[in-house]
Amino acid sequence: MSLIVSRDLVKTYRMGEMEVHALRGVSLEIAAGELVAVMGASGSGKSTLMNILGCLDAPTSGTYKLEGIDVSTLGESLLAEIRNSKIGFVFQNFNLIPRTTALENVQLPMFYRGISSHDQKALAVHALERVGLADRQRHHPAQLSGGQQQRVAIARALVTNPAIILADEPTGNLDSQASQEIMATLTTLNTEGITIILVTHEPDVARYARRTIMMKDGMILSDRSSKGMPSARVVPQEAGV
């Protein structure tokens, strides 16, 4: 069964007089356990696709099924629940809440779920352990390096045990060393069974993925799978995984 099934996704924005066609009919299927890279130049519609797949935005037309649920028709409140339980986000600029400890940042999704604070803490600690930051629980984002901040963000994304992690340019703000660590962390999580969709314009990053979707002008230009390559590129010794 495919985790994600989208049919003819169209997204049109109005900007004053102009109509912007961000997506012009995107159909794709992603199976559970995949590591997919979505590539394309800016303006190609990859961010819009990401927002729709992440349930942050609704398509103008077309259907989107996540784990068999048609989410393109759901209201805001239910979308928030889906985001909370099935999706983890990793952003280019980390998007951690400032002046709040790593542990509390990781607890954030559970805060909106009514999990007891004791359990929240235990799960958050475990998630931080998985990304190798068990010793940084009490640090604020400002006290962490870019790579560490991104790993806190990854911990936050995976703490609810989501169906997919959406990573939007996760290495965009990182140096190459940290980038490699982050990609190693993500690929490791992928091998542990988490589906990851990676939005990037860097071919180096996309190479970690077994499948690459190229976008252009709101449509899928190509959808290629390259077997065998990513595992060869994994550099497990650096990342604390």
């Binding site: 935005d57 805001e76 409140s77 928030a80 985001r83 909370n84 951690l96 400032p98 909106y112 936050r156």
Partner: protein, 409 residues
């Protein structure tokens, strides 16, 4: 519940981060609540003091004054006419609900004891008058009906007279004082009443039997005419009816035609109290206005700072929405911050107000009554202000588009 508790904790932390800003924001509420509590407490104290003063006049007292008349174009003032008589008052005593009826006649005269003298008001009164006006004997006793009948030369002394005619510690009872060069035997001294609402010393007074005053001391043109009649009602509720009945009976007895004006004046003690209450009511309205304005200003301050906070934390709001916060979660978060701000301000204001009222009563000597009601109301209102003025910023925050909020720099 858990969520709400956590939200409150988060709110405290967020506000704690900007201590100076939070404190300045609360200032409006603090000043508003503090001022109101201090002023209401002092106002209530003053009101109670006034009521205590009014009570010294006696309970449920109805006063009847003879009417005035115009002699050669000159108005003689209340009591200028000698239209009220002892028989009138004795008749009024029969009205249902009247407990006591008394009468009095007064004149200003000199009283002498040995080498000391004092100028005071001599009141010739019937024994019931003393009961109606709530006088009580400190030493000795009131004169009796027998003294009235014989026009005995006995006298009761007010506290001020005792202080001025006698040495400290000396017991006046049994001694003799002179009024109009006649010896009067002091049969009792009276408990002090203090000043009345107009600032008159109520203790600067001596009482002699009415008959004595009429026949021996003051003299009179018409026998039985009195300076004032006094009735006491069994309960305050009966007073309006009794007043109406008094008017009806007196008009009848004085044979007044319908077109003629009353030749007497009836005063109800409750009316006097009402005037006082009216004053404190308008004072209360004034306070309410001040409180509303300062709470309004405080509320606007909170709204202002929350709007700034929402803008500053746009990205945070986006993050929270991305990880699954619903709009109501965001709404609640900012609302709780507003309420925490205003409620803390209210709490501090309550503290300062109580301290201020206590300070005013201990330093300036104003009586302050701090009632729990006003504390609860003031605090409750400050919390409501938070809800009201927090609603707009909180709603604004909850309506942010998560995608745009996440991109906000």
């Amino acid at each position: 519940m858990n969520f709400l508790l956590m939200t409150v904790l988060v709110a405290f932390r967020v506000l704690g981060r900007n201590r100076m800003r939070s404190a300045l924001t609360m200032l409006g509420i603090i000043i508003g609540v503090g001022a109101v509590i201090a002023m209401v407490s002092i106002g209530e104290g003053a009101k109670a003091a006034v009521q205590a003063q009014i009570a010294t006049f006696g309970t449920n007292v109805i006063t009847i004054l003879p009417g005035s008349m115009t002699v050669g174009g000159v108005w003689t003032g209340h009591g200028g006419a000698v239209t009220l008589t002892v028989t009138d008052v004795e008749e009024l005593k029969k009205i249902p609900g009247v407990m006591y009826a008394g009468w009095a006649k007064r004149d200003a005269m000199q009283v002498v004891h040995e080498n000391k003298n004092w100028f005071t008001t001599i009141n010739g009164v019937s024994p019931d008058y003393l009961v109606i006006r709530g006088w009580s004997a400190r030493n000795g006793e009131f004169y009796a009906q027998a003294d009235m009948d014989t026009a005995a030369k006995v006298v009761l002394l007010g506290n001020t007279i005792v202080k001025n005619l006698f040495e400290p510690g000396e017991d006046p009872v049994g001694s003799t004082i002179r009024i109009k060069n006649m010896p009067f035997k002091v049969v009792g001294t009276l408990e002090a009443k203090g000043y009345d609402t107009r600032g008159t010393d109520q203790d600067d007074v001596v009482f002699i039997p009415f008959t004595t005053a009429e026949r021996k001391v003051m003299g009179t043109k018409f026998l039985n005419s009195i300076g004032a009649g006094f009735l006491s009602a069994e309960s305050p509720e009966q007073m309006p009816q009794i007043v109406d009945e008094v008017k009806r009976i007196l008009r009848l007895r004085h044979k007044l035609r319908p077109a003629q004006e009353d030749d007497f004046t009836v005063r109800n003690q409750i009316d006097i109290a009402k005037v006082q209450e009216g004053t404190s009511e308008s004072m209360k309205l004034l306070l309410l206005a001040v409180a509303s304005i300062s709470l309004l200003v405080g509320g606007i301050g909170i709204m202002n700072i929350l709007l700034v906070s929402v803008t500053e934390r746009t990205r945070e709001i986006g993050i929270r929405m991305a990880v699954g916060a619903k709009r109501r979660h965001i709404l609640l978060q900012f609302l709780v911050e507003a309420v925490v701000l205003s409620a803390m301000g209210g709490l501090i204001g309550v503290g300062l107000g109580v301290a201020g009222a206590k300070a005013a009563s201990s330093i300036a000597g104003w009586p302050a009554i701090i009632s729990a009601d006003i504390l609860v109301i003031a605090f409750g209102f400050s919390a409501l202000v938070g809800v009201f003025f927090g609603l707009y910023p909180a709603n604004k925050a909850s309506r942010l588009n998560p995608i745009e909020a996440l991109r906000y720099e």
